[in-house]
Amino acid sequence: MRVKLLQGVGLRVGTCLIGGLVLMAVMALSPWVNDPTLIHVASKLQAPSFEHWLGTDHLGRDELGLVMRGAVASLGVAVAAVGIGAGIGVPLGLMAAAREGWLRQVIMRASDFIFAFPALVIAILLHDTLGAGMLNAMVAIGIFNIPVFARTAFGSAQPIWTLDFIRAARLSGKGTYRIAVVHVLPLILPAMIVQVTIQLGLGILAEAGLSYVGLGVTPPIPSWGRMLNEAQTLIAIAPRLALVPGIAIALAVFGFTLLGDALSLTIDPRRRERQP
């Protein structure tokens, strides 16, 4: 069936892209790659050559090396942010679903509240408390991930609590906490995994945005977002510098999106495409 084929293609392409991303990050940390932080103004703005596969930037740094190192920042921040978001958000969502009452109200209101704050405002305000840098980016994006995961966990968990086997578990003597861990959590795990892939993609975008405005990782750590910022004024002279990091970001996010879509189709057969 044509759709199943597309699903398989999506899964494979997505996995390849992500695999490539991780590979780049790992290799970037190895000694084989040119150190991109080496500034060598004399060789600035060179076109791609054998020595510099993607050329050099306005400070003579190796563009390819910069891109590969940028993968480290992007992945690192995205993973940490998802870790914070899911680690705190999922238990909160589970708790909110388990019982009606004030706890649920508080958690849901707080989530709505954080959503209402434009994410960048949070980052800006955090920047003032934490300063720029990788930590700031991780925390800012992580804080914004918490309500996302709380909401998704709540939405997935809530219908489960109304099912009869939860009542049967209670009659067997299990308390709310045990039921949440033993029954509910494994059942919402697939949806959570899908959300993780989505948020990883969004996290990379967010990190790029923060670095672009100067709130992300600080120099000399390379970051795709900051590279785009620096390339902006040079766009007429060396469009390559503006294209390469952007394409890197796009491919990385696209890979996660494909992965997430393919996973969600396999998990929830109701969402599979119906025939025309």
Binding site: F165, R167, A168, L187
Partner: protein, 503 residues
């Protein structure tokens, strides 16, 4: 002959769903189409409207007044649907557009087919609503689907179907989700429509006794074809053995071995419960003894399920006293939906072992054998087994820790009629064997008669009658009980005699 159907076939992606259905429908007469789930009954009804599922192919002939429907184009078919043929679906709020008022659904076909203005259409709609016995004191044009009851919605749907005076009315499980008394009155409405308006009516249902009360003819479907048919006034076990068997399994058996006293397991007194200021239980008291099965019956909304949950300890009552089995796991429950009773990712074996502190494989296997299932079922997943098998597994789970009290909340209502009898027999034998006390909640008086020793009748939260089951059902004293008994088709022995003389 209003409609003639020959060799109707429906195939979806090479899989045949209907394999040659023949039937004919006469003006003024009602045909009941029965069969197990998956037999193709609903698909047949939809096919008569030429509305098969997306991507499937219909073949064969459908003649309506001599016109062959399967050769008509889209526009002509749209002209026929809703005006010459009307359809009523199984009640569920989802058959109504939640954004439109109930009345709007009735005016929709008027305006579509006749192009009338709003006021003119509403006049016609109100007439149809009246014909369908929609309550006159409710303004259908100001109410939305979620604001009216199931029975009222169903009447509105019937009104929408007959507003243009169709010659043929198709009804797919029209009363399955309704109360017994509402079901009886809607079935009577269908009979009136057939008699007075000379409509041909096709009713699809899995509930044979209910249909048999009003149908002129019944047909049994199995795996996509009609295997037996008979006029209801001339049913005989020889000519239509499967239909007869279906009747027999729906027939209330006498309740089992007389129950002869035992220690009280459960004493309930003065239970009151209110849910957001609406009282749902009002001073309910009763005693349940070891080895006894107490049936709790009543319409939906009478508080039966609330009572079940309170007795099981899942909810707290506002006031009142319960003296029951102490300790975790002493009270167990079997629920209505066999599939929802199990964690879909656990094997049946894991679920059955849940009430035990330490699970041992032999205990699970014994429990399975007790309920008539092979021990290999322990490795199956809930979605891999049939409804009846899943419910047996639910019983196994409930009994594995040897509880003192078993609460069953509509435990057989979701099962096919043919399977119900087997499960009820199983429960009976388990009760006698282990001396279980059982609290059996059901809205179906026939089921209650088969399984209960004593009966408690609830109406709007209060106990209105109590006594030995067979006596309460044969001589109900309270008017509410009387209404319930009168409306229950499965108590009606009219069709159960194997030899029948023409009436």
């Amino acid at each position: 002959m209003l409609m003639d159907v020959h060799a109707l076939c429906l195939a979806l992606n090479e899989t045949p769903l209907l394999k040659g259905v023949d039937l004919s429908l006469k003006s003024g007469s009602i045909l009941g189409l029965v069969g197990a789930s998956g037999s193709g009954k609903s698909l047949t009804a939809l096919s008569l409207l030429v509305l098969p599922p997306l991507g499937s192919k219909l073949s064969g002939t459908i003649q309506l007044n001599g016109r062959s429907l399967l050769t008509l184009g889209d526009a002509e078919l749209c002209g026929i649907r809703g005006s010459a043929i009307g359809m009523v679906f199984q009640e569920s709020a989802s058959s109504f557009d939640p954004l439109r008022t109930v009345g709007d659904h009735v005016t929709e076909s008027i305006r579509w087919h006749l192009g009338l203005g709003r006021e003119a259409a509403r006049i016609k709609a109100r007439q149809a609503l009246k014909r369908a016995e929609f309550p006159a004191d409710i303004d259908a044009f100001k109410r939305y689907p979620h604001e009216v009851s199931g029975g009222q919605r169903q009447r509105a749907m019937i009104a929408a179907a007959l507003v243009l005076s169709p010659q043929l009315l198709l009804a797919d499980e029209p009363t399955t989700a309704l109360d017994v008394t509402t079901q009886a009155s809607i079935l009577t409405l269908f009979r009136r429509l057939a008699n007075e308006d000379k409509m041909a009516i096709l009713i699809v249902s899995h509930d044979l006794p209910a249909i048999a009360t009003i149908a002129d003819e019944v047909a049994l479907m199995e795996k996509g074809t009609i295997v037996e048919r008979s006029a209801t006034s001339q049913m005989s076990a020889e000519r239509t053995p499967k239909l007869a068997a279906l009747f027999a399994s729906a027939r209330p058996r006498g309740s089992s071995a007389q129950f002869s006293g035992g220690d009280a397991v459960l004493r309930v007194s003065g239970i009151c419960h209110a849910y957001s200021s609406k009282p749902s239980l009002n001073d309910v008291s009763f005693t349940l003894r070891k080895g006894e099965c107490l049936g709790v019956v009543g319409q939906s909304g009478s508080g039966k399920s609330t009572l079940a949950r309170i007795v099981a300890g899942l909810s707290k009552s506002s006031t009142g006293n319960i003296e029951g089995p102490k300790g975790t796991g002493r009270v167990q429950m079997v629920f209505q939906d066999p599939l929802g009773s199990f964690n879909p990712r656990w094997t049946l074996g894991q679920s059955i072992a849940e009430p035990l502190r330490t699970s041992r494989r032999d205990e699970v296997e014994n429990a399975l054998r007790d309920v008539g299932l092979d021990p290999s079922f322990a490795h199956q997943y809930p979605h891999e087994v049939s409804g009846g098998q899943a419910q047996r597994a639910a019983i196994a789970r409930a009994l594995i820790a040897k509880p003192d009290l078993l609460v069953l909340d509509e435990a057989v209502s979701a099962l096919d009629v043919a399977v119900r009898g087997q499960v009820l027999d199983l429960l009976d034998s388990l009760r006698v064997r282990y001396g279980l006390a059982m609290l059996f909640i059901t809205h179906d008086l026939g089921v209650a008669r088969s399984v209960a020793n004593r009966l408690l009748v609830l109406h709007e939260g209060s106990v209105v009658e109590e006594g030995v089951a067979s006596e309460v059902l044969s001589n109900p004293r309270n008017p509410h009980t009387q209404a319930l008994v009168a409306a229950s088709p499965s108590l009606n022995d009219k069709f159960f005699a194997p030899e029948r003389s023409a009436d």
